[in-house]
Symmetry: C2
DNA sequence: ATGAAAGCGCTAACAT
DNA sequence: ATGTTAGCGCTTTCAT
């Protein structure tokens, strides 16, 4: 006949084990542990003592099963290397910790199938809510799965999703850059951007076009390049732009990685910035200030927009928890700001 | 009398709902969904069809309750802004996704209480395993909680923890830097490092001391600074070092953030690198190459060590799942390598 | 091949 | 204040 040992060595003690050890019922233990009313102070102490001795750890799964909602919040992003992700992840982790939630992070690498798998897993875990940077070609099933959940879109927005989005107005950021360069006298301005299948891609390109139009500047197709937002692409396209004849007198990079690649490309030429070429980047990692010359760029209010997105999500969750109807939330588009350092100057005299 | 609607609009359909809709028992549904033996092909199809129509999503909590282990892996790190975290997080997210696990990320900011809370949450969720960059002053309870779990320490190691650690041999990296500078003729070398309560802090300082000793160079206490590994501290200490009289002819920064701060500080002086001052950084974010001059630094095999740590963890988990005894795993210390660019040169002639 | 029933660990409604 | 009981959704014997 096998029996559990009395007070020690139980591998995964449950409230029943505590109850046995104390000779009380397991519901008493539950009450004591959850700090409920109708429980004597003495009992509370004894239960906690025993729980600690036995090494009791509540089974979150069982609790979730009973209460129908977990304490999990998901973050779905294409990539982990960007400042955008880093800031969002940090702020979200902190806010989740404060609210007693766990944060599940998923990386899609812009693969819609991976995105679907992650969303599925989150729903299976009965996640409370999701912050998502949607892939450009989200599957219909993914959107369907996301519908009954608390969701906020971040940085990008996808038409299939009805959830509110917190984005940054790339168009106005790029337009401001164009404006600045035009004022300096530039006429031939190059632009490197994302493909038009991303909401960010179309927005920033639109900003470029409108900015140029506003200053009566013609847009030469050869000076506008779109492709994957990688450093490699930024490097290659910047190099290509600089081989045009006549070459542009200024270049706008419309992504943090493109900016890095673009700067790399200029390093391989004899061009002196800003005398021979003006450059405006996108995003503002700390190292842009350390370049020679320090790079002018479009600043992004990453912290602010992350906070906004998370607050939206938490408000949705709170409403749902309390059974209130989820008030429709308006999407938010934050304004970037131009940071002028020393990488722009009037164009060289031909 | 209230009844559930027959086939549509059930908020969170369970296998029972599917069973009802099909007029079969819920265990049949379970079998069909889990692709088990002893189930007719026809039934499998019908069940899956119905499940999809009803929008069924398995309840991971209930499944975990039954099977006693979840599909969650935890990553506990002090900060999310570092390349170290970014690389680890990316690789871990990918490997977890491939293995069908979810990744829970927690940020401690080096607060032991926060660390404890995160470990507790992970244990409550019956996490399969944890990759942890331990805080310097881990609580005894945290170590206790971690003991029965699959754990790998990463980047730092803590004496309370018995789990294997994958670290990078900072001592040898810094020693290599000292060696390189000594060969160039430097005698007065400054060092900015972490406090001695971190394993990384003591290691890198030891590397400095040993390197200096090896070349018969005296260590001036005023040229050795230890403190928080922030950019601010790096900036302040580098500035302080440069105000010594006579000032050091070379400076070694022993952290990525310290490196950034150190470079910032040199920018505020008239010193020309490497003519007036040699600088060696730590870690190798892409932008170091873009500085003028490109910075020499200690390269870190971040990807490699992340992969190693994760493989260790997955092996532990696999062994546990299969009931095999967990084979004792040896800790691993990877060798960094010196990356020579253009920020070092012989010292100026006094 | 399918159904009936038990039980994972927990909370909460209902007794006492 | 404490005990009894039911049931959350699922997997898994054990019958049939």
């Amino acid at each position: 006949m096998r029996t559990k040992k009395a007070t020690a060595g139980i591998s995964n003690p449950t409230i029943k084990d505590i109850a046995n050890a104390l000779g009380v019922s397991h519901s008493t233990v539950s009450r004591a542990l959850n700090d409920q009313r109708h429980i004597s102070k003495d009992m509370k102490v004894r239960v906690r003592q025993a729980a600690s001795e036995l090494g009791y750890i509540v089974n979150a799964g069982a609790r979730t099963l009973r209460q129908a909602n977990s304490a999990l919040v998901g973050l779905i992003a294409p990539d982990v290397m960007s400042e955008l992700f880093a800031v969002m992840c940090k702020v979200l982790a902190l806010r989740c910790a404060r609210a007693g939630y766990q944060l599940a992070v998923s990386i899609t690498e812009d693969d819609p199938a991976v995105e679907l798998a992650h969303v599925k897993a989150l729903r299976q875990a009965r996640a409370l809510g999701v912050v998502i940077i949607p892939t450009p070609h989200m599957l219909a099933e993914t959107a369907e799965l996301l519908k009954p959940t608390c969701v906020v879109q971040f940085s990008r927005h996808h038409e299939r999703l009805t959830a509110p989005a917190v984005t940054i107005d790339g168009a106005s950021g790029v337009a401001a850059a164009v404006h600045h360069l035009a004022e300096l006298g530039h006429k031939r301005i190059g632009f490197v951007g994302l493909p038009s299948d991303r909401s960010t891609g179309v927005g920033r390109l639109r900003g470029f076009m409108e900015g140029m139009a506003q200053h009566g500047l013609p847009v030469e197709p050869a000076l506008v390049r779109q492709g994957p937002g990688t450093t490699e692409f930024g490097r290659a396209m910047t190099a290509a732009l600089l081989q045009q004849n006549p070459r542009p007198t200024a270049i706008i990079l419309s992504t943090a990685d493109l900016t890095q690649g673009g700067v790399e490309a200029t390093r391989r030429t004899n061009l002196v910035i800003p005398k021979d070429l003006s450059v405006v980047g996108f995003g503002d990692p700390a190292w842009l200030r350390l370049l020679t010359p320090p790079l002018s760029t479009v600043g992004l209010t990453l912290g602010e927009s992350s906070e906004a997105a998370i607050s939206m999500l938490l408000r949705q969750i709170e409403a749902k928890e309390e059974g209130r109807p989820i008030e429709p939330q308006a999407s938010l588009e934050l304004e970037p700001y131009l940071i002028l350092r020393s990488s722009t100057a009037p164009p060289p005299k031909a």
